[in-house]
């Protein structure tokens, strides 16, 4: 029975793939994402990974990957799981998280440094959405300005966008993922879409705009005319700083490198150095003071000078 169903549905799929009524070939968006982390992730990284995996019905979570240097092995792994995208969490020093987004057979690969991670659980937002519903991906206009941002946008579209008709996806749209470029970083947010009664007085402009839209649609929408969308954040939140883009999948020439990115190690070292320099300065000052005092004969052996009159008690009763 199952086989029959499978064959039937396959046939349907094929029909879907074939030429449309007007002759254009319908492309199928087939994406599968391998989601995995390196060893040494913290609980926060792990929760973030789980959150993202929960949002991606086309994702395939795998066990921790054991190497940080031989990342090209991920290609084989992805091939093994029939995945054409890899989302790899690389944790360093038990605190820094680097996220690799890669298209597997032949690139490109984008490496990000992830900061300000907040998982769904720790953010006490009231939003919620269906597991595996397809999100609307909202990209900042800045993504169209630079080629590297364009590449990043495309890769986000492949990895975070749930393909149409994905196996575990739900048929309704109830959340929006926002990607914004600000301060040289990419800020990722996830919101629930709630439909609310439209407030007439509150936003006149919007209301008018909406109502005209509704008319043009001719009522094809389901109750679109008198409802508006409001967003409630769901989480997780994180900020990605692009570091490099490689042409291949975990390999190949680097076609973009972010000059503005400063490694967290560098930041920490600078902090430490600044602190150390303060200490060194203090010690130097102390040494100078000591030397000066010694020169004046106020310190050390000559601290108590002999009484020139010879009437010192120690002198007298020696």
């Amino acid at each position: 029975m199952a086989a029959v169903y499978k064959s039937l549905s396959k046939g349907a799929l094929k029909a879907d793939k074939e030429t449309d009524a007007n002759g254009t070939v319908q492309r199928k968006n087939k994406q599968k994402v391998l989601i995995l982390s390196s060893r040494g992730v913290t609980y926060r990284h792990r929760h973030l990974l789980n959150d993202i995996a929960a949002m991606l019905p086309h994702g395939r979570k795998d066990v921790k990957f054991d190497s940080k240097s031989k990342l090209y092995q991920l290609n084989e792994l992805a091939e093994l799981y029939n995945c054409n995208n890899v989302l790899f969490f690389e944790a360093r020093k038990g605190k820094d998280l680097y996220m690799w987004f890669s298209k597997v057979p032949n690139g490109p690969t984008v490496k990000f440094h992830a900061q300000n991670l907040h998982t769904m659980e720790e953010l006490h937002f009231t939003g919620n959405c269906l597991k595996g519903s397809r999100p609307i991906l909202s990209f900042d206009g800045a993504f169209e300005t630079e080629p590297y941002l364009h590449v990043i946008k495309e890769i986000f579209l492949h990895i975070f966008g749930v393909p149409q008709g994905a196996r575990k996806s739900k048929p309704f749209v109830d959340h929006v993922m926002g990607f914004t470029v600000a301060d040289g970083k990419i800020w990722v947010r996830n919101y629930e879409v709630r439909e609310v009664e439209k407030v007439k007085g509150a936003d006149d402009n919007d209301g008018d705009d909406k109502s005209t839209k509704g008319k043009s649609k001719g009522g094809s929408g389901s109750g679109d005319k008198d409802t508006d969308v409001s967003l409630v954040e769901i989480g997780p939140r994180f900020v990605l700083t692009p570091i490099i883009i490689q042409e291949g999948a975990f390999g190949g020439p680097i076609i973009y490198e972010n000059k503005r990115f400063i490694s967290p190690n560098q930041v920490r070292a600078d902090l430490r150095k600044a602190k150390a320099s303060r200490h060194v300065g203090r010690m130097e000052q102390q040494r100078d003071t000591l030397a000066r005092r010694r020169n004046l004969g106020l310190e050390g052996d000559g601290a108590k000078k002999k009484d020139p009159t010879g009437l010192d008690t120690r002198e007298l009763f020696a």
Partner: protein, 418 residues
């Protein structure tokens, strides 16, 4: 990362160079186009020899110079052939914005070449070396300062080629929205963020961007007849579990109750503070009222008296009333004072009198216990015998006490023995 060097042979030149020539490049950018063609030719001619000359030394310093020359050659060759991916890495003329820093290096060198065209290659070489060594110093300085300079690599052709290779078709004319469900906003969100550190403003801008996208997406999906809203009777697993949502709800409730309790407590505190004020106010008011009443009565009395003397024809009843009022007033006004003075009670009882005489009542209490001529002259309590027997007022040497001091002779004898 190890592949970086190996996979980018044409880039070795600009790679070692920090971005320190911004000023120079700006002024030289203009005349570059004009001068480039003859210079490049010249350079190419020189190139072969120089190349061999330097290859013997192969010091890391000469790396940059070589790169530049090679780049110059690249420029030349690119006129003829279309750029392939590999060689298209850093064509100066094409990628001006992204890599103008590294570009400026080559411009600088070629310009130098233009100036010193007649002087021959020796001098040119010298200049190169000088520059490079200066650069190296800068490099060292930067390394010493602890700032690693990242190279600007922004290979736009490469990026676009990569994009072309894997991009999905999202053209709204050929592909329905439901295929990709992505919305690119028309404006940059960053422009609407006044300060990136202002959390509220920033999140609001993000949310506005997402909301606009949601509106747009919803409109498009509804137009295509794709289900958008989840029916109320559609139950399925959600991203956040019920437990989490319960926790969130509990937290919300907790927050709300805490806020409410705080407000209540503040109200109570205020009330208390205010209540005290009210009490004081009331007391003052009562005092005032009393004073006023008394004054009024006194006034009345005086008036009465004056009136009484003036109007002799006052009735008997009036007089009676007068007396009564007077008495009443006196008793009311002075009762307390009289009570305190104790006038009305008369002398206290005998026991009290005795005690008063003994312990004293009234009068001056100061210095009552200090000595005076009388007390010092009074030797009533003195006994010579008691004085001799050790000073203890009890009388007689005590058994357990210290032994009395022996007489003088005995003492001397004891001293002699020792």
């Amino acid at each position: 990362m190890a592949k970086k060097g190996a996979t980018q042979p044409p880039k070795t030149g600009p790679k070692t160079k920090p971005q320190t020539r911004g000023g120079k490049s700006a002024q030289q950018k203009g005349d570059r186009r004009k001068s480039s063609e003859p210079v490049v030719e010249k350079m190419i001619e020189d190139d072969g020899e120089e190349w061999e000359d330097e290859s013997d030394e192969e010091a890391p310093e000469t790396n940059g110079g070589k790169g530049n020359k090679r780049k110059a050659r690249d420029d030349e060759s690119s006129d003829g052939e279309s750029d392939s991916e590999g060689s298209g890495l850093e064509h100066g003329g094409i990628n001006l914005e992204g890599i103008d820093d590294s570009d400026s290096e080559s411009e600088l060198d070629s310009d130098d070449g233009a100036d010193k065209d007649e002087d021959g290659e020796d001098e040119e070489e010298e200049i190169d070396v000088d520059e490079l060594s200066a650069e190296d110093e800068e490099d060292e300085e930067q390394i010493a300062a602890g700032t690693r300079v990242r190279q600007t690599i922004n290979n736009k052709e490469g990026l676009l080629a990569a994009l072309r290779r894997f991009a999905l078709d999202t053209n709204p004319k050929t592909v329905p929205f439901v295929f990709h469900q992505s919305v690119v906003s028309s404006k940059n969100t960053e422009d609407s963020i006044p300060s990136i550190d202002d959390d509220l403003q920033r999140e609001l801008a993000f949310m506005n961007q997402a909301r606009d996208a949601a509106r747009q997406g919803r409109a498009l999906l509804c137009k295509d007849g794709v289900p958008f809203t989840r029916p109320t009777d559609y139950f399925a697993e959600t991203v956040r579990s019920d437990e989490t949502m319960q926790k969130v709800k509990a937290k919300l409730v907790e927050d709300a109750t805490a806020k409410k309790a705080a407000a209540e407590a503040r109200k109570q505190r205020d009330l208390k503070k205010f209540g005290k004020q009210v009490q004081v106010q009331k007391q003052l008011e009562r005092h005032k009222q009393k004073r006023e009443t008394l004054e009024k009565i006194n006034l009345l009395k005086r008036k009465r008296q004056e009136g009484g003397s003036a109007a002799l024809g006052a009735t008997e009843a009036d007089d009676l009333f007068d007396v009564a009022v007077d008495n009443e007033l006196r008793s009311a006004g002075n009762s307390k004072k009289r009570g305190a003075a104790g006038d009305s009670r008369g002398a206290p009882n005998t026991k009290r009198q005795k005690k008063d005489s003994k312990y004293g009542f009234g009068g001056k209490k100061r210095f009552s216990k200090s000595g005076d001529a009388m007390s010092s002259g009074d030797l009533g309590g003195f006994s010579a015998k008691r004085m001799k027997s050790g000073g203890a007022p009890g009388g007689g040497p005590k058994k357990g006490g210290k032994a009395p001091r022996p007489g003088k002779l005995r003492r001397q004898a004891m001293a002699g023995k020792r």
